[in-house]
Symmetry: D2
Subunit: 347 residues, 4 copies
């Protein structure tokens, strides 16, 4: 059994981690920290966990995280980098669901997250936790920076187009029109996320700039090995879970005859959590609700030169906690799908 600690389990990615790990056959939850909730049983805050999680929150100094095999950080940005060194020194692996170990360039990190990076050396050895791209590196990693929810969908949606040696699309003008349920904003008390504000409503936000843009560009450039230009427009959907990314790419003339359906199917043949749907499909977010699956479909409207990729994922699972467990499985030599085979909830 893998001994697991969680730092910060009071948000949505935290409770989702608990839901998944409580049913994971190789996981043993040994500690979950929260200074504010010290002593409160987790299931008191989240009655959905009654009968499944008997652990109580404990103050950080009481939780012997250094005796865990792996510690997940489901915390605000900045917490993981403050604690990682000590844990790594104790031989504990670290998986951060926040942004501390995502951006390789500390100047970019500081620009977008408004704080200096406190451990560039650890950042340098951290692996970006996107298994479909970095599977082998993740197996060997000690520190994982898990991708953001939007970046996961954008990178997995564009990746097959970028890994063919020569460019197939105009790589300087990609467009990602993304739509997310409100749990993506976290379990924070904010007026704009109230049901009375966000329900029966739709809007774009962050068009001027969003933290997930530099992360996605970094990821796409790593995949392609070439510079990438991307416009990213996020929108808020009045639903709880789910991301739908509608991706646009302009074909280069020399790629017009390619079979893109075959290209995608081939690219993801060995990825159990990416489902390339039949040509002509319109994946729905609910088809992956509460599961680690990402589904996508490739369209070429009117047979023209614009490729439209539709990608759906559950932002809390494949976009966060589930992807974290997928990485953990790889890091501990388990089958990638262990504990992650839940059937999506529909309706």
């Amino acid at each position: 059994m893998i001994k697991i600690g969680i730092v910060g389990g009071t948000g949505y990615t935290g409770v989702e981690l608990l839901r998944i790990l409580a049913a994971h056959p190789q996981a043993e939850l040994v500690a979950i920290t929260s200074r504010k909730e010290d002593g409160m049983p987790v299931a008191e805050m989240f009655p959905s966990l009654r009968g499944h999680v008997s652990l109580a929150f404990s103050a950080p100094e009481k939780a012997r995280l250094d005796q865990c095999d792996v510690v997940f950080f489901a915390t605000p940005h900045g917490v993981a980098m403050a604690q990682a060194r000590e844990l790594l020194a104790a031989g504990v692996k670290v998986i951060d669901l926040a942004a501390d170990f995502r951006l390789k360039d500390t100047a970019v990190f500081e620009q977008w997250y408004g704080m200096p990076h406190s451990c560039p050396d650890i950042l340098a050895e951290a692996v970006y936790g996107l298994p479909e791209v970095n599977r082998d590196a993740i197996r060997a990693a000690h520190v994982i920076g898990l991708p953001g929810c939007y970046p996961t969908s954008m990178q997995l949606g564009f990746a097959p187009l970028l890994t063919q040696g020569k460019p197939l699309i105009n790589e300087s003008s990609l467009i990602a029109d993304c739509k997310s349920g409100v749990s993506g904003a976290g379990r924070k008390a904010e007026v704009h996320a109230l049901l009375a504000e966000a329900s029966d409503n739709f809007k774009a936000y962050g068009v001027k700039g969003h933290r997930h843009l530099p992360e996605t560009i970094q990821g796409l450039e790593a995949i392609a090995g070439r510079p990438i230009g991307l416009t990213f427009v996020p929108h808020l959907v009045p639903m709880i879970r789910g991301i739908h990314s509608t991706l646009y790419a302009t074909l280069l003339p020399e790629a017009r005859t390619l079979d893109f359906q075959a290209l995608y199917e081939s690219h993801y043949r060995d990825s159990p959590f990416v489902d390339v749907m039949p040509a002509g499909s319109h994946p729905e977010t609910r088809s992956v609700r509460a599961s680690n699956m990402l589904r996508l479909a490739v369209h070429r409207p009117g047979g023209g030169d614009l490729l439209v990729i539709l990608v759906v994922e559950d932002n809390l699972v494949k976009g966060a906690a589930g992807q974290g467990v997928q990485c953990m499985n790889l890091m501990f030599g388990l089958d990638e799908t262990t504990g992650l085979r839940q059937v999506p909830i529909l309706p």
Copy 2:
């Protein structure tokens, strides 16, 4: 034109007041205060008001509220009673949408609202702003304490049963099972009201006790002239606006032969904002959405001794801002319906 000031216009009852008054043919909005938002155009906070409200928020000391004809308080509890005396002295009428002038017994007020009452003398002359019960007193009033949203629906639902001279129902064991949309909780940043918490979910709350219970009992006892016993169970519905109250009353044997449909229709014959629907109807909250109408239907399942009254209202209109304007109309000698004839929004 009636010169109108609003204290606190950044919450839901405030913006609803603005929406109604902006289209009221006799209303002239002259000031709206908010210390925090001093100088910000109202329509910048609420783009829905662009082109309809040109006023900006102003700090209280700059807003010459004493030159208004009437001032509405759409504020937290306790604000109106702190400012009422000065306004009244200047000849300004006061309409409070909060609870400062609802409960006649200051001890009960202090128990439920956690603060002493600072002006019992003004409270003594304040009129409870429920026009269908207190129409004449409202016409003559200088200070109005507007009913809460739940109490409006409960009182108007039970009233016809309590005004017949002798009891028709077991008045010691009334039950009100009420359901409210989340805007009833106000425009406050609170975790439980987030879309990701409250959507696709249903729960009761405050079963142990709720501020609207003493207010409703006070109101029902005033209507009946006799003691009343009431159990009130509020629930939260994943919708923005609307209250549905399901009321239960046990018939006394001597009332078994009464025609309750006729009783209700007769009782509300002259009340333009209470619609007694045909027998057998199931009123929906959306049938009154964004309007000042309250609809109700009277049922007697299986012809037995339990009367079931279904009542719907828009909590922000008939349950708050609209009722305030209805009172204002009466206080200034206008037709009760002036500016309040909007057709409900469906779908």
Copy 3:
């Protein structure tokens, strides 16, 4: 492995059965029938099942249901009773999610379901599939009539009050004010269940009479061994899954000193799917979303004589498919919880 057939898998209870059985360690799905969809892979209709269910729908005559160990009917009322005799003769157990084997009195069945009962003899031996009440009978049953979704919540909510030898409450005037998500209406194209009709809306329905009333009275009378009077008012909540029943019972004077919290805890001590929450709790429907758990809390507002029981369940799981699998487990000698330990999905 239990060989399982499903008749009618295109509705919500059908797809929920598939979701649960696909992950059940002892279940082997061998056939699913639908004349209309003959040949279509189940996962084509429900992409959420891609990778989990490889079966295709087949016309009834092709599906060798007589070679199954058990057949579930997730069909309109009337289908199960037409096919049960043949299956039973072949030694196949039958679990009906519709109403064919719920009401013991065929005259009552005909009154509420508008069709004659075609096999009263099978009805006579059918067991009502509410494990917390009929566990032993279910173990030995060949035919199960599964309770309706509302009746499950009402019976389990009232049961502890009715099994104490002598009456504790006024058993002639129980009230159940119930609220259901719209999936309870099934996957049928009906205007009133459209998102544009049912969303941001709340209403009661069927106050005059509802099929679940006679079923619940029959069940409560069987539990109590005495006549019961019940008023049942169902309401429609703008959410997908979940039932919240608010139950009211008037204490008899001799029961005033009882510890009802202890009574409920004791009653359900050995029922793994009933969670009696701590005193003062307000269970939420989402706390049981997509799980077979039913949670309840006992309240006595103001310490008075009215008991208020709050009950939540997922109408598609404990109110339908999950309860069916719970019965199947008992009928085949498995632990009651086999395949039913999924953690509820929150948020």
Copy 4:
């Protein structure tokens, strides 16, 4: 007073027309037809209209539509063209909310709507009812083909870029990523529009082709006077009302220095129902809920060559019934805004 007839008032655009016209100071509703509902008071089907609309549905042969000044068709495609000739002959103006008079090319009409066009001569004189583009022609029109909901938002969003004499953008590769509430699908009983299907879900649809594509291209080409290439991807949002169109256009090098904010503001200076929001805004659909206003904002992320236009409208008002009344006002010499000044409903 303008005497008004409505053919087909049982759908969402019909009930919205009734809501608007009931409060229109110059409108007199004289007839509303529905063969199926002959004799039923309109307010019985839509209780929201109780007290506002006293008309009953009548069979077409009883309704003297030829005595109206104008007849609105809120019907399925094909109805208006079957009845227009007779009405026009009687001097009655016709406003069609369906597609019969939108597409100028009858071959394109037949391809997308699956029926031959029965009156090409009337089509030839019909005016496309988009006042911000065709104001003068509408004033003189006898027959109006109202734009679809999506096309209204796309055309008004792109128009200022296309009317500057020479091209500013790459006009062959426009992209419109559009999101609509479900009322856009109409009040038809269809499984995919059930709350239990469409709620808490997001998906694209019709990526292969959608009827609003040829209509929009026709409109944009008429505006530009040049060929246009457009990719249109519609999506379904779990909300009742509202369309949000996110439009993408690539700047030509010679247009890089233009002030697009000023361009848009200038273009719509005299259009009371188009609100160009301040630079950097993110218009929300609720900011126009139940109103005839369309709001838009112009973005240029990172100062690059991709222009992003965010457009919101209420699909039932500016996208249908409200635009119809706006056209009627123009056709009868009224101020364009008569009866259309309702304040949007927020929250």
